[in-house]
Symmetry: D2
């Protein structure tokens, strides 16, 4: 399913070069102020234009067709629609016989029996994350008092990110990056011990963002090299505040009220200007693909807000679910 | 929910020191040979006894109460039950007022309103993974021809694992570890572009295994430091075989028929013999906790098969789901 | 959730007097020919215009924004959008203080905390069934060889339906009706013994159609007055054909290959031209509501195709799910 | 799936003549007092012994293996197990070749590829409802203040139920019955306009009870013969109390705070003492089946509490879900 969530549920739809893409958000509580401006800041972070991002220019004006009345959410499903305007469909049909390395041309052809829309990556396109980011903006409103902060820690292996982008552009190549998301203000008690741990639910969504290849919480992979005496976080307040935060804000799959911290590995975009070897499925011989038009030299720049949105959607669901945990009214001790 | 899966669905239950723990597996296809021996090899990998593992001795005899007839799965829900026999309940009540660092004493108390069973970690215990491992053994049978291989690459930051375990034992401390899982023989086409990507579903389950702090696919975090020209995998056969496997067997969230590769960071167990600072919630003053009895010096040793089971459960679900993707019968082109 | 289905999943959205209503269909197999014409016949059955139906005139032109490429489903989510054009919003705000008998004015206000869109019934409007009917049209294409037939058996308690409608119109009142749906060509083996019985899944969806108050399968309520010797259906062929069909095509919650038969009770529409007593919530005194503008004298006329669509959506999901029931490949007996 | 519920989730397992049957209840809030006595009253209503019920004698002692500590629910999954003790397995294998009319012998064989446990009906047996009834008893505790009342209105078409049972026994036949369930004390606002209407969710579960063939809400099928002026219920209090209750406690799929009323048609049990025609699938010729041993002459007697439990499970889920509907804290108007 191209959908996620049990209470706050987001369904994505659309293809890169179809008429429109977007999301349906079901389970948003009523009474939340929502307008096109709700999405402006996050959509701006996702938009192209900066060095190292694709030159595809989309206005990304969100059309709100349902679930909002007099400026507030009604509690019924919200349809957010974005028109695709700047589509330049090349001859994508050739990718059916000459699949691009690192792309979903081959797996999409098998998964969808040859019927997938190949133009601009179709449903596999990063374009689809506009709907994800919009849904994430609503998710954040469901959690007033919770603050998200996402940074690009590294690009191309270094911290001088501008230089790394310029080098990649000069080489006609692409670079990966390392993102860090910090979430402050989450209540204690979100998540389940098994399967629906807060980390599991967030990872599920975040790994759906194109180009994400790994996720770690708190000290993450560094914890594999630590000792328990160094990793355990001492409690220092009755609210669960800890002296350190090696665990990244969760114990036993459940938030402990400290900052929730995760890092995400973003691979370099598959589309590059350099020629690449691949198989011509028609002839059965190896061939060389020359890079096509528009692409992101550093997709991590624009993935940041999508990762944040994906995490926010999982967390909003947990925040709403946590209201069901309370005891029923009555005379229980 | 303490359950996972859309078609092949696993529900876990039980507490560390309750009468029994186990799993219900719903959606297992009929006709699969299942007996207590089905689980023997994987349960042996999970069992304690080796250096660095807890001395708790459980026979782990799986009782099969439903869903199996004349040695074959019937297609109806399978109940697998394990008795808890070697339980030595100490005074766990004190952990309600003096929560152990790194444990779920605090978060569990909030999440469950003070009603959680604290004995031996209750539902948060690694003991619960016996049911997970048993369900994983069935999951593997649903995918004949798919082979799982899991290795402990590192413990305590090094590759001499025996030495690292001895050093941890001598110090009364615990160490983390790095696991690698390789899955061979998966068909092309498992997964969805958004949300239910193969990586997302596997990560969701794997992060439920206690002590897991991170997961990466293919080159994972290393990919964040690579260039596209170095990360892209050239296709070399019509079956999707690639010359390299930087992506770890998935493009666009969908398996590509190459080996599916992931690594998992396991933190050091929270329970150690050394004294640790924590807050006494009753007095409001800091206090020192002395480590209690039985624990794992290197939980990664026993987590390996649990991680493998968690991944297998997600993959079995996708294998069964993939049968629904075909075209309906008829005269479509 | 305003969504249904595990594999073939339909999400509805929209309000009666908002800008648009529609559906997202996720899980539709690729390769199914779909165009605006796909929906024409069923939408025509749902449209108003005949005696006894509302004079609201909507073109009901389906806009297909995703999931379709070159005339075929791609396998990705399909967005179907219908514009609302003929909206005449009266002063619906008064229904917040003077809720109409039989309507959802009161329950909607409580459920949505006063934020629901009241215009034309908002999300509770029968208008929303346009999306349901469109999704049902796709569901039927997923099951080639399965034939649906729905009849209005009775209106207002009698079989002379035209006369009943005229009488209702003359009285400024509304009438209910009895529908029968027959589905031929379903394979044997759809459904589960518990909870996800074929009857349970179909009833779940059908009872979502506004004004439906009951559903029965096979002999239904008449079976409560029968004896086993008269209700049991004798098998007469190895394909499961039975001499009679008292059970309506299902045994033990699972289709048996005979015609699947159900009947549905549709209540009279709540909106009538006659004055009705109700409470003025502002004053706390009883008052009389005079019927407002456009409505259906016999909503059962237009509910027929919506009931059929609701059932088709459940059955398409089961048809796709049944492909997962097969044995895994291998040497099992 | 043999499971139901989004927040309060019940999974059933077991076969009639296997070692045990039961249920896992996930999502029960913590702090609810639960002991074997919790189930005694409802299990007694389900138990056999009275005239017209099967002579199979089962102690039905619920074993509680998880999710309960010191007499209270912990909030983690609850396993309830019942041993099967009084099993007299006849030669059920013959029903594979000579399927019993009205039974699931044929559909079960197709659905489960010939691997289903045929003894005593296997997973299709009414025996499985012991787990359903136990889960229903917990569901009721989740809703303190909500009262359930279920009556057998008719058996065999009449209201002298004892006489109808005696006549059926004398004839070696079985009779159906009509049940009515009334639920008082439900809050206003449970349910969704589309798909997850309160009626749809309840019907989904109730139709899983073996032998149920129809369900109606409020006036139900009688409403199909009514006029709107006679069916609409006038509001008479600000809490939503209505002068009449034709709608049975729900408007627009959402509870309105009045008594929630439904009736259920139960068919006569398929197993009778009289000989019946059916096909011998081996020879391809018609044959006569002589009724086997133990059965219920009036299954509606024992189905009453199972119907009540099935409804309670759906309603408990909605009660817990309703806590998520509230506005988020903050300064929204």
């Amino acid at each position: 399913m191209n959908a996620t969530g049990r209470i706050f549920r987001v369904s994505l739809f659309g293809e890169s070069h179809g008429s429109a893409i977007g999301a349906v958000v079901d389970g948003c509580p009523p009474g939340i102020p929502i307008s096109p401006m709700t999405f402006a800041a996050d959509l701006a972070r996702r938009r192209s234009g900066a060095r190292g991002t694709t030159p595809r220019a989309e206005a990304d004006l969100p059309e709100l067709h349902s679930g909002i009345h007099l400026g507030f959410s009604t509690g019924t499903p919200i349809l957010i629609l974005f028109r695709n305007l700047d589509t330049r469909s090349q001859d994508y049909a050739r990718f059916a016989s000459v699949p691009r390395p690192g792309h979903a041309d081959f797996t999409g052809a098998v998964r969808y029996g040859g019927f997938a829309d190949p133009r601009g990556g179709g449903h596999f396109s990063g374009r689809i994350t506009a709907g994800l980011v919009a849904a994430g903006a609503i998710a954040k409103l469901v959690m007033p008092g919770v603050a998200f902060s996402t940074r690009l820690l590294e690009a191309g292996g270094g911290t001088d990110i501008d230089a790394a982008v310029e080098a990649a552009l000069a080489a006609g190549d692409s670079i990966g990056g390392l993102l860090e998301l910090r979430v402050a203000g989450l209540p204690v008690g979100l998540g389940e011990p098994f399967f629906d741990s807060v980390e599991g639910l967030v990872a599920h969504n975040v790994l759906a963002v194109p180009a994400v290849r790994g996720i770690e919480f708190g000290d993450g992979f560094a914890a594999a090299r630590m000792r328990g005496s160094g990793h355990n976080d001492a409690f220092v307040s009755r609210e669960g505040k800890t002296a350190t935060n090696h665990c990244g804000g969760a114990n036993g799959g459940i938030t402990n009220g400290n900052e929730f911290v995760l890092r995400v590995a973003v691979k370099p975009a598959s589309t590059i200007a350099l020629p690449q070897d691949t198989l011509d499925f028609t002839t059965g011989a190896m061939t060389s693909l020359v890079g096509e038009g528009r692409h992101d030299a550093c997709i991590a720049l624009r993935a940041a807000v999508a990762v944040e949105a994906a995490a926010a959607i999982a967390l909003a669901d947990l925040v709403l679910l946590s209201r069901c945990h309370d005891l029923p009214q009555g005379d229980h001790p």
